[in-house]
Amino acid sequence: MRQIDSDFLALPLRRLADAALQRARDLGAEHTDFRLERVRAETLSLYDARLEGAADADDLGYAVRVVKGGTWGFAAGIDLTPESAARVAEQAVRVAEVSAPINREPVELAPEPVHADVTWVSSYEIDPFEVPRGEKVALLADWSAGLLKGADHVSARLLQVKEQKFYADTAGTTTTQQRVRIHPHLNAMKASQSGFDDMSTIAPPVGRGYEYLTGEWWDWQGELAALPQLLEEKLAAPSVEAGDYDLVIDPSNLWLTIHESIGHATELDRALGYEAAYAGTSFATFDQIGELVYGSPLMNVTGDRTAEHGLATIGYDDEGVRAQSFDIVRDGILVGYQLDRRMARLKGFGRSNGCAFADSPGHTPIQRMANVSLQPAPGGPDTDALIAGVERGLFIVGDKSWSIDMQRYNFQFTGQRAYRISHGKLAGQVRDFAYQATTTDFWQSMEAVGGPQTYVLGGAFNCGKGQPGQVAPVSHGCPSALFRNVRILNTVQEGGK
């Protein structure tokens, strides 16, 4: 079990918190929370096995959020002195006062048990920031050089983040947390007489340390060895014939469909309209909870912030709420939403399920996505068995392009590669495919769900939401699954060619 870095603990965390909380209390705030964060990120970018760019940056600062007279006030600062922290608290109160005339919905927070002086560290072995940069670059260069034997150009990127947070509020909760995440990604590109195409690795980003690249957690050698041949086959593949197909979707592609069509659609702030001008709302409106037929009876979706190695996994959220696991869709019916404390109170949930997150010390916490995952069928089939059940279809692997409307109805996704399925067997790749559907039609067409042996935790570092814009890391677990009669586009024809 890793410990929180001593240089973070050496910062004047409690002195700043005490100064800010006391000042806000003196100025009449009903609630105050203080959050100090240090987020370090390193990105290594290689092109054709040569280092092209290396960015090593951190973000350090703190935020004070108050509720005064029923109105939020938020301010953030960077000077690590109690005097400055008190001034930032004053600014937060001032922001609440300036904003009061345009606030018509008093803020109240759902209660949360006090978590006094608790710590939490994510599950990882090797801190990527303790690995010499040269060693990381050498490994990526070696992998790139291997791919270059079968590609014209290869790009490689390694994203590494360490996030440290200290939180304290006027109720008495104090949390100190640290988590690490990592995302290696390689892409091979090749040109032919028919144009160019590329293919990327499908290894997901994970809440692990550097051991993800060097250990047994992913078959890097196998994936990298296969990629050039897969790309060669893709370049030679026929263009897909547009029409309706049965789809078997690999977890490396399905996670993103879950993210867009379930994850975002079941954020209560969207359903209530708080994101209406920007990210949008949701077809899954609050009045339909317990009634909306989201998908087939095989569909069981959970939200959780507790899955080991999940990117949204944490001990306590940015409102001091302990991480939980909860149902979102049960037997195909919408049964839950992702919440923060304000919305939990507003809609009578009793307690938040712990989905508040801020991506930096300069941003206010908003409701962000838990690890929203489609559960496998106990004893369910493997991917080959799902494919065997298809007469005419496609098997889609890896995520690529994605887009969905502002109420999460209409989506369109592509993938890294698609194989034609003929009479229950794979029959070579096709190119230029995209699948397009309406969310509930798609999930209601899910006829079979793979077993636990097909389950993979996918995800992304950079889910965007909110204004000012914030990015959040999130994982989505899912098995392979079979969908009937989904519309497939030919993207070349779509482009008018």
Binding site: A54, W72, A76, Q91, S99, I102, R104, G195, S401, W402
Partner: protein, 456 residues
């Protein structure tokens, strides 16, 4: 210690062959609202120091937030050490020199704060009241940011740029949330924002939407206003890197090798350009690069930027370049610039006049969730939102359902049938990243609406 002092001290501390130091001071204030009430707000300040050390052909970059004076030596030492350990960088060039110092270098930073909304917030409150009584709900976001960037180098550069960036996004919905309209403005200080007038324009569009017309997917003659045009052109601009074009992996690659520079892309004489001194959308007049990449080089820091035509009279003129990629391509050094201006042949008709001259077509006010489907053609997919209207015989006759589109902005340039006069606009989708745009309304004879979206 002031940011200028941090830059000077860091340059003194560096023992590398060369050094560039960037200090960014950022302050921001925002108000967010939904359903005629505030949802979140905030003020924040941040600072960042980026040290770029050069040892031989190697480079090391370390960027740290909220650096305290006593930490400066460690940050510089880390960058110096990274440079010495680094392999030779492909883009290594002599550091930029000989650029005159900015006249404002020594002036203090004046941060923005919540008081930038002192006049705006009450006006917004009045707009909430007007909307409430008019059966509308207002949603949106107001933000003001001031970023001061100081760039110093061991070659003597002392450059400064102060960038105010402000925007208001305003979305009005009918009380049943079934009709929706959006508008946005970019502003430098909120003194020029007339929220009541903006709300009035949205109210008119909600009235248009009282008549609903359902149309199927298909290709439609379509009018796109400046905000929607900006979203398409900005994505094309972001895709116009010279290195990707040279490597044969972009829409601007010439089959068989090289780039498409010199090729006629548009039949109409449209020009797409950037100019750091453009009135109302002024931006940094020199390169700032905090890491090297496909379209940026830390060695180019401080390089002066000047007006650049990307497309001139319909012909592809330039791609986004570093000094390194310019050598590879044999084309002029034309780095990216933080604004984008599209102009037609001149004398064009206003959007209202274009509507009046339309026999049957769609007026699509906003595009959303735009993503790349095929880099080879730059085929993009996305949605319409917050107002698609049917125009018949010169008049808006009702609101149409939303669509998913599949279109390439490059292909679309070749199919434009009309370009109106240009005006400053706020891109709907990319306004978080790119606020300085001047765009025309355009007419496309056959915009590809791929499928119907149920979203309203």
């Amino acid at each position: 210690m002031t940011p200028q002092e941090m830059v000077e001290r860091a340059l003194e501390l560096s023992t590398a062959d060369g050094c560039v130091v960037l200090a960014d001071e950022r302050s921001t204030a925002n108000l967010r609202f939904a359903g005629n009430t505030l949802t979140t707000n905030g003020v924040a300040r941040s600072s960042r120091l980026t040290v770029i050390s050069v040892a031989g052909q190697g480079v090391g970059v370390v960027s740290r937030a909220a650096v305290r004076p006593e930490q400066l030596a460690d940050v510089v030492a880390a960058a110096d050490a990274a440079a010495r350990e680094a392999r030779p960088a492909e883009d290594a060039r002599e550091l930029v020199s000989g650029v005159p110092a900015s006249a404002s270098w020594d002036e203090p930073v004046t941060p923005t704060g919540i008081d930038v909304f002192t006049g705006f917030a009450p006006a917004l409150g009045e707009a909430f009241s007007a909307a409430e009584s008019g059966g509308r709900k207002l949603y949106g976001f107001a933000e003001h940011t001031l970023t001061s960037t100081f760039l110093g180098s061991s070659t003597g550069l002392r450059l400064r740029h102060d960038q105010p960036t402000g925007r208001l996004e305003l979305n009005a919905k009918s009380s049943d949330l079934k009709r929706s309209a959006w508008t946005g403005v970019a502003t430098r200080d909120f003194s020029d924002v007339d929220v009541a007038a903006l709300d009035g324009g949205l109210a008119q569009r909600l009235d248009w939407a009282k008549t609903r017309v359902d149309l199927p997917a298909g290709r439609y003659e379509t009018l796109l206003p400046p905000a929607a045009v900006a979203d398409l052109m900005i994505y094309m601009f972001w895709s116009a890197g010279a290195r990707d074009a040279l490597d044969g992996r972009s829409v601007f690659s010439k089959p068989g090798g090289g780039t498409r520079v010199g090729e006629q892309l548009a039949a109409l004489p449209v020009t797409l350009s950037s100019d750091p001194a453009a009135e109302g959308v002024a931006c940094s007049p020199f390169v700032t690069a905090r890491s090297s990449g496909r379209e940026s080089s830390v060695f180019d820091n401080g390089l002066p930027l000047s007006a650049t035509d990307w497309i001139r009279e319909g012909r592809l003129e330039s791609l986004r370049q570093t000094r390194y990629s310019a050598e590879l391509s044999g084309l002029p050094v034309t780095p990216a610039i933080d604004n984008l201006i599209m102009r037609g042949p001149g004398g064009g008709r206003s959007l209202e006049e274009m509507i009046a001259s339309t026999r049957r077509g769609l007026l699509v006010t906003c595009l959303w969730y735009i993503r790349e489907v095929d880099p080879q053609t730059l085929l993009l997919t996305g949605l319409t939102r917050d107002g698609v209207y049917l125009v018949e015989h010169g008049e808006v006759v009702g609101e149409v359902n939303n669509f998913r589109f599949n279109e390439s902005p490059v292909d679309l340039l070749g199919r434009l049938s009309e370009v109106g006069p240009s005006s400053p606009t706020l891109p709907r989708e990319w306004g978080d990243y790119f606020t300085r745009a001047v765009m025309p309304a355009i007419r496309v004879p056959d915009f590809n609406m791929s499928t119907v979206s149920q979203a309203s």
